[in-house]
């Protein structure tokens, strides 16, 4: 058992927000069949949103590009999904939420509290939803305020999900920590775009979107590495993890646990595969436990 901000995880892999997280049943499937140590829901907001027009996600040579546009049924409708997940998931369920300002964040968190999520993850980092996400996440004052507002109204751990689309992610990480965050999650997607040269049209319905998958792993590793140095609270690594080797790399950079998003494309049971791979690695290398590798790269000079 791994412990992360008080949550008990059977392995250090977590389903990332917005991936297979729209329904309670899907979250449970990832926890049970997929073997995830914890699961995070789709980001839920104050009012229903249908999201951007399709294409909303495409696979590239390297990685994936998406602009879902934070589709969600709003917290009142999502309550039943979260309840189903909580009642049926063998692993902790974390509610990802977003809003346009601190009080909206607090409203959504309170609205979901009856379903007893094990933690909240604050999405202040979506690169392609006007006025939400990265608009907040690149402003340290707002990040601190949003974090504090949610901390005020909930009694479970609060994670803050950071955007890499800033000059210095540690500033934002510090702001989250100052606001009382129990952990930071890095990274959300990188701003990106693809154009269909046959027609000249941007491929995504929203024209541009967020890059995820293999392409972003080196960026995520660097962000995690820097955050590990800058912060006291745990860093949860996400971005391009698609194998146990990637997970180990992320942990050596300083991640206490990793999230996996796009790589469910390959297979849903990637979580147990990564978990087993990490265990085998620790054993082969003679590391007595996972803490021996968390942040190891910082010691190798």
């Amino acid at each position: 058992m791994y412990t992360l901000t008080g949550l008990k995880l059977k392995n250090p892999t977590i389903l990332a927000a917005g991936v297979l997280g729209t329904t309670g049943a899907s979250l449970c499937r990832v926890a049970r069949e997929g073997g995830a140590g914890a699961v995070v829901t789709k980001s839920i907001g104050p009012t229903p949103k249908t999201g951007h027009h399709n294409p909303s996600m495409v696979r590239l040579d390297c990685g994936f590009l998406n602009a879902m546009g934070l589709p969600n049924p709003s917290y009142p409708s999502f309550l039943q999904e979260l309840e189903f997940a909580k009642n049926n998931s063998p692993a902790p369920v974390v509610a990802s939420i977003f809003g346009g300002n601190p009080s909206e964040f607090a409203e959504v968190a309170q609205g979901l509290l009856p379903a007893k999520p094990d933690a909240f993850e604050l999405n202040v980092s979506c690169p392609h939803a006007e006025g939400y996400g990265a608009a907040i996440g690149s402003n340290p004052c707002l990040v601190e305020a949003v974090t504090a507002a949610v901390k005020d109204v909930v009694n479970v751990p609060v994670w803050v999900k950071l955007t890499p689309n800033v000059a210095d992610i540690t500033c934002i990480g510090n702001a989250a920590e100052a606001g009382g965050a129990d952990a930071v999650v890095a990274i959300n997607t990188l701003k990106g775009m693809a154009i269909d040269i046959e027609s000249g049209y941007p491929v995504l319905g929203n024209r541009s979107g967020g890059l995820s998958g293999k392409a972003v792993k080196p960026v995520a590793v660097k962000c995690v590495y820097d955050l590990y140095t800058a912060l006291e609270i745990p860093v949860i690594g996400v971005g391009g993890v698609s194998s146990w080797e990637d997970a180990v790399e992320m942990m050596m950079a300083g991640a206490t646990a990793v999230q996996v998003g796009s790589a469910v494309y390959d297979r849903v049971d990637i979580f147990s595969e990564i978990g087993a791979g990490i265990e085998a690695f620790l054993e082969r290398k003679g590391y007595s436990n996972i803490n021996k590798i968390i942040g190891l790269a910082h010691e190798m000079v």
Binding site: G18, V19, L20, G21, T22, T23, G24, A25, S26, L27, C28, R29, V30, K42, P48, K49, T50, G51, H53, N54, P55, S56, M57, V58, R59, L60, F64, N66, M68, P71, N72, P73, S74, S77, F78, E81, F84, A194, D196, E198, S199, Y201, V203, G205, G261, S262, V264, Y265
Partner: protein, 259 residues
């Protein structure tokens, strides 16, 4: 992969509101029952079953399909796919029953043809609102017996495909493959459940698709959490026991909507 550029090579009117668009790349390896994401540029991208390895057969229902209907031969759209899991092909000597309602005949017609080519005996129940809406009757007739039902009785049995199905001996079939409006599929499902024939049945589901590639989770069904776009769209009857089929689906925001 980014959408392929597909050029429309031919357009065929199947009925007043249904048209077949033939296009240039040919998906030689498609499994009947698989779908493509059709990108009508500047408008939307929507899922469509493949009605042949180089055609889709589209019912005009809303914005994207209407725009598609404005396209002419020589125009183009984007295509991603084929995606998902198709119908299981029978082996030589098996006897199969195809149950197609409305535009559900689109993905079932290449399946019926492939099954026939594999040496199976193919019977079809083809349902539609009225005679003029019957889709691909000729394609099915070329393979074997076709039972027709129309809501208005303008051809075949007046009523639903289930009215025909009730009269057949399900024990005579090795496989039963179903696609059509969800109300119809859930009636068929209940009937097959009663007759203990779910094990040999497969259903092709429709849900709201966003990514189409199994990542976003928009299309997951209760309570299995299976993804219609990747684990389906074709599911075995057994996979659907106790599922949301016929009860509700989710809209683009993820909200439950009663069927």
């Amino acid at each position: 992969m980014l959408p392929l550029n597909a050029t429309i090579t031919q357009i065929t009117d199947e009925s007043p509101a249904v048209r077949t668009f033939f296009f240039d790349p040919r998906f030689e390896d498609m499994e009947p029952g698989q779908f493509v994401m059709v990108w009508i540029r500047g408008v939307d991208e929507i899922p469509m079953g493949l009605s042949r390895n180089n055609s889709i057969t589209v019912q005009k229902v809303g914005e994207a399909t209407s725009k598609l209907f404005e396209l002419k031969e020589g125009d183009s759209f984007g295509l991603r796919g084929p995606f998902g899991k198709g119908f299981t092909l029978p082996v030589k000597g098996e006897k199969i029953l195809v149950i197609a309602g409305g535009v559900g005949a689109a993905p079932l017609s290449p399946y019926a043809e492939a099954a026939f080519a594999a040496g199976a005996e193919v019977h079809t129940i083809l349902g539609a609102r009225s005679a003029g809406d019957l889709l691909f009757e000729g394609r099915f007739e070329a393979l074997g017996k076709v039972y027709v039902s129309t809501d208005d009785g303008s051809k075949g049995v007046k009523g639903f495909v289930t009215d025909v199905l009730k009269s057949l001996d399900m024990a005579a079939y090795d496989r039963i493959s179903v696609c059509g409006p969800e109300i119809m599929m859930s009636s068929v499902f209940r009937l097959l459940e009663e007759r203990k024939s779910l094990e040999k049945a497969e259903f092709s589901l429709h849900r709201y698709f966003k990514c189409g590639i199994g990542v976003c989770g928009a299309c997951c069904i209760d309570h299995s959490g299976l993804r219609v776009c990747k684990d389906g769209p074709v599911f075995s009857g057994v996979q659907l026991i106790g599922s949301e089929l016929g009860k509700y689906s989710r809209d683009a925001s993820g909200r439950r909507v009663k069927i």
